[in-house]
C-alpha cells in the first residue's frame, strides 16, 4: 500500500470514528449504563457488526454500480415500495436531524451560556453554511476529526477505575439486574437502533459516489468501514462504562445532554469538559448534516434529479432545496421546545421501525448480478445480511410496544 493509500485509510477511519457516534448513541449508551451498568455492552458489539455488514454492502454497490443504493431502490423494488421507503426514511431523517440540532444547540449553550432558543437557529444557520460552502470531503473530515474530542470518554472510562471483571462480563448476555426485563429489552432495541442508523448507510453510499469510488477502492471500502466502525463502537463502550462506573452507584439517571459531559469533567477536569463538549458538538453536528443530506439524496435519487455536492447548488437546485428543507423543517421541530433527549429517543425508536424497509433494498441490490456482476454478495455477506435482517424484523415489531410499555425506558 502506497503512502497515499495509507493516508487515505487513516483519514477515512478518523472521520468514521468521529462520525459514528451521534446523539442517539450518546443518549442510549449513557442511559443504558446508568441503569444496567455494563450488562448491555454485548448489544453494542452486535450493533457495530450489523452496520459494518450493511455499510460494506452499500459501499460495494456504489463502487461497482457507480450509483448509490437508494438510486437503485425504485427501479429494483417498484414505484410503490420505493415511495414507501422514501417516505419512511424522510420522516426518520427529519426527526433525527431535529434531535441532532437540539444537541448542537445544547452543547453551544453549555459552552457559551447563551440562551437555548437563540442558539437553535444559529446552529442551523451554521450547519447550513458549512454544508453549502465546504466541499464534501472537507465536511466529512472537519466534523469527523473534531468529533474525536469524544475520545476523552475513553480516557475517562479508564480513569474512573471500573470493575474490569464486571465490564468483561458485560460482553456476554446475562442478567438484567437493576431494571425489569422489559426495560432491558427496550434498551437492547434502542442500542441496536442507535448503532444501525439507516441515514448513515445511505449517506455512506452516496458519499462513495461523490468521492468517485471504483473497483479499486473496494478494498479501501472494506478496511475503512470495519476499522472505523469498530473504533466508533469503542466510543460507545466508553460512554456506557463511564455511566456504569459513575452514574449507576450514585443513582443518577441521565436526563440531559450535559450529563455525559459531567462524567468527563469529573474524571479529567476542565480540559475533559471542554473536549467532551466540543467532541459532542461536532459529532452531533456532523450527524445533523448527514441526515439532512441523506434526505436530499433520497429525494433526488427517487425522482431522478441531478444531485451531489460536486454540482453547483443552482444547477442541482431541487436537490439543494431538499436538504435545505430538511434543515428548515428540523429547525421548526426543535423550536417547538420539545425536549431534545425525548426527541432523540423517538427518532431512534422510529428508525428501528423503519429499518426493515430501509435495509431490505440494500440486501436485494447487493445480490443483484445485473448491477453487481461478479461482485455480488458472497456467502458470508449473505449469511450475515440475512441473519441481521431477521433481527431487524424482530426489533422493528417490538420497538413501539416496548417503548409504550416501559414509558420510554423509565420502567
Amino acid at each position: 500500500m502506497s503512502v497515499k493509500n495509507v493516508l487515505a485509510v487513516a483519514l477515512g477511519i478518523m472521520s468514521a470514528i468521529g462520525g459514528f457516534v451521534d446523539i442517539g448513541d450518546l443518549v442510549f449508551n449513557t442511559q443504558a449504563g446508568a441503569i444496567f451498568g455494563f450488562q448491555l455492552l454485548w448489544v453494542v458489539v452486535i450493533g457495530v457488526v450489523g452496520i459494518i455488514v450493511y455499510s460494506e454492502m452499500c459501499g460495494r454497490v456504489s463502487a461497482v454500480a457507480k450509483r448509490p443504493v437508494f438510486d437503485l431502490v425504485r427501479e429494483r423494488t417498484g414505484f410503490g415500495a420505493g415511495l414507501a421507503t422514501l417516505i419512511a426514511s424522510e420522516i426518520v431523517n427529519l426527526m433525527t436531524c431535529a434531535a441532532e440540532i437540539g444537541g448542537v444547540a445544547i452543547c453551544f449553550q453549555l459552552l457559551s451560556g447563551l440562551p437555548y432558543r437563540l442558539l437553535i437557529p444559529l446552529a442551523v444557520i451554521g450547519l447550513a453554511v458549512c454544508s453549502w460552502v465546504l466541499p464534501f470531503r472537507w465536511l466529512e473530515r472537519v466534523f469527523g476529526y473534531l468529533g474525536l474530542g469524544l475520545l476523552v470518554f475513553a480516557v475517562a472510562a479508564i480513569k474512573l477505575h471500573p470493575d474490569w471483571g464486571q465490564v468483561a462480563h458485560g460482553f456476554v448476555p446475562g442478567s438484567h439486574s437493576g431494571g425489569s426485563l422489559m426495560v432491558y429489552l427496550y434498551f437492547v432495541v434502542g442500542l441496536l437502533g442507535a448503532a444501525m442508523t439507516p441515514y448513515e448507510v445511505y449517506f455512506y453510499s452516496s458519499g462513495a459516489v461523490e468521492d468517485r469510488w471504483g473497483l479499486k477502492e473496494l478494498r479501501l471500502n472494506q478496511v475503512t468501514s470495519i476499522i472505523g466502525y469498530v473504533l466508533g463502537g469503542f466510543l460507545s463502550f466508553a460512554l456506557m462504562i463511564v455511566a456504569g462506573a459513575l452514574f449507576l452507584p450514585l443513582g443518577i439517571s441521565p436526563q440531559f445532554l450535559g450529563t455525559p459531559a459531567l462524567a468527563a469533567e469529573h474524571a479529567l477536569g476542565q480540559l475533559g469538559l471542554l473536549l467532551a463538549l466540543v467532541g459532542i458538538l461536532f459529532a452531533v453536528g456532523g450527524a445533523a448534516i448527514e441526515t439532512s443530506f441523506a434526505g436530499g439524496y433520497n429525494m433526488a435519487q427517487f425522482f431522478g434529479w441531478r444531485w451531489g455536492k460536486r454540482e453547483r447548488p443552482a444547477r442541482a437546485s431541487r436537490f439543494t432545496l431538499s436538504w435545505l428543507a430538511i434543515f428548515a423543517l428540523a429547525l421548526l421541530l426543535v423550536m417547538t421546545g420539545y425536549d431534545p433527549v425525548k426527541l432523540t429517543e423517538f427518532s431512534v425508536i422510529f428508525s428501528v421501525v423503519a429499518l426493515p424497509l430501509t435495509y431490505l433494498p440494500i440486501l436485494l441490490i447487493a445480490n443483484d448480478r445485473a448491477y453487481m456482476g461478479s461482485n455480488v454478495n458472497g456467502k458470508l455477506a449473505n449469511v450475515l445480511g440475512g441473519l441481521y435482517f431477521l433481527l431487524i424484523l424482530v426489533i422493528a415489531v417490538v420497538a413501539i410496544p416496548l417503548m409504550l410499555l416501559t414509558h420510554g425506558g423509565q420502567g
Binding site: 425504485r74 427501479e75 410503490g80 420505493g82
Partner: protein, 114 residues
C-alpha cells in the same frame, strides 16, 4: 434503437434512470406510451417523465400528479441506448427535461456561491 420491442423489455425499463446526451440525470422513466399492445408487434411510442405521469401509480401517485405540472413526452427515437439506465441522444434542455432544476435555479441562485 429498434421501435418494435418486447412488452416485457419495455416494462423492464419503467422506473429506470434517464440520462441525457451529456451524461446528466434527467428524471426517471415514469411512464411509457406503448402502441399496438393487441397486435403482434407492439411499439414503444414515447417515454413520459415527471408531472402527471404518476397518475397510474396508485393513490400516492395520483396525489403527486395533482401537485405537479405537465409531464414531458420523450419520443422513443430520442433514446440512444438502454442498459440499467436509459441514455438519450440529446441534452436534457433540448428535450424540455430538468425544467424543475431550471425553475428553482433562480431562487437558489440568489445565495452567494451557488
Amino acid at each position: 434503437m429498434n421501435k418494435v420491442i418486447d412488452v416485457d423489455i419495455a416494462l423492464s425499463i419503467l422506473d429506470h434512470q434517464l440520462v441525457d446526451g451529456d451524461g446528466q440525470n434527467c428524471g426517471k422513466v415514469d411512464d411509457l406510451e406503448i402502441a399496438g399492445l393487441d397486435t403482434d408487434s407492439p411499439e414503444i411510442v414515447e417515454i413520459i417523465v415527471g408531472g402527471n405521469a404518476w397518475r397510474s401509480r396508485g393513490l400516492l401517485g395520483r396525489l403527486a400528479a395533482r401537485l405537479s405540472g405537465d409531464a414531458v413526452h420523450v419520443p422513443w427515437p430520442e433514446v440512444d441506448s438502454v442498459t440499467s439506465v436509459v441514455t438519450l441522444k440529446r441534452p436534457a434542455a433540448e428535450l424540455r427535461l430538468n425544467r424543475g432544476d431550471e425553475r428553482w435555479a433562480a431562487l437558489v441562485g440568489k445565495v452567494p456561491g451557488s
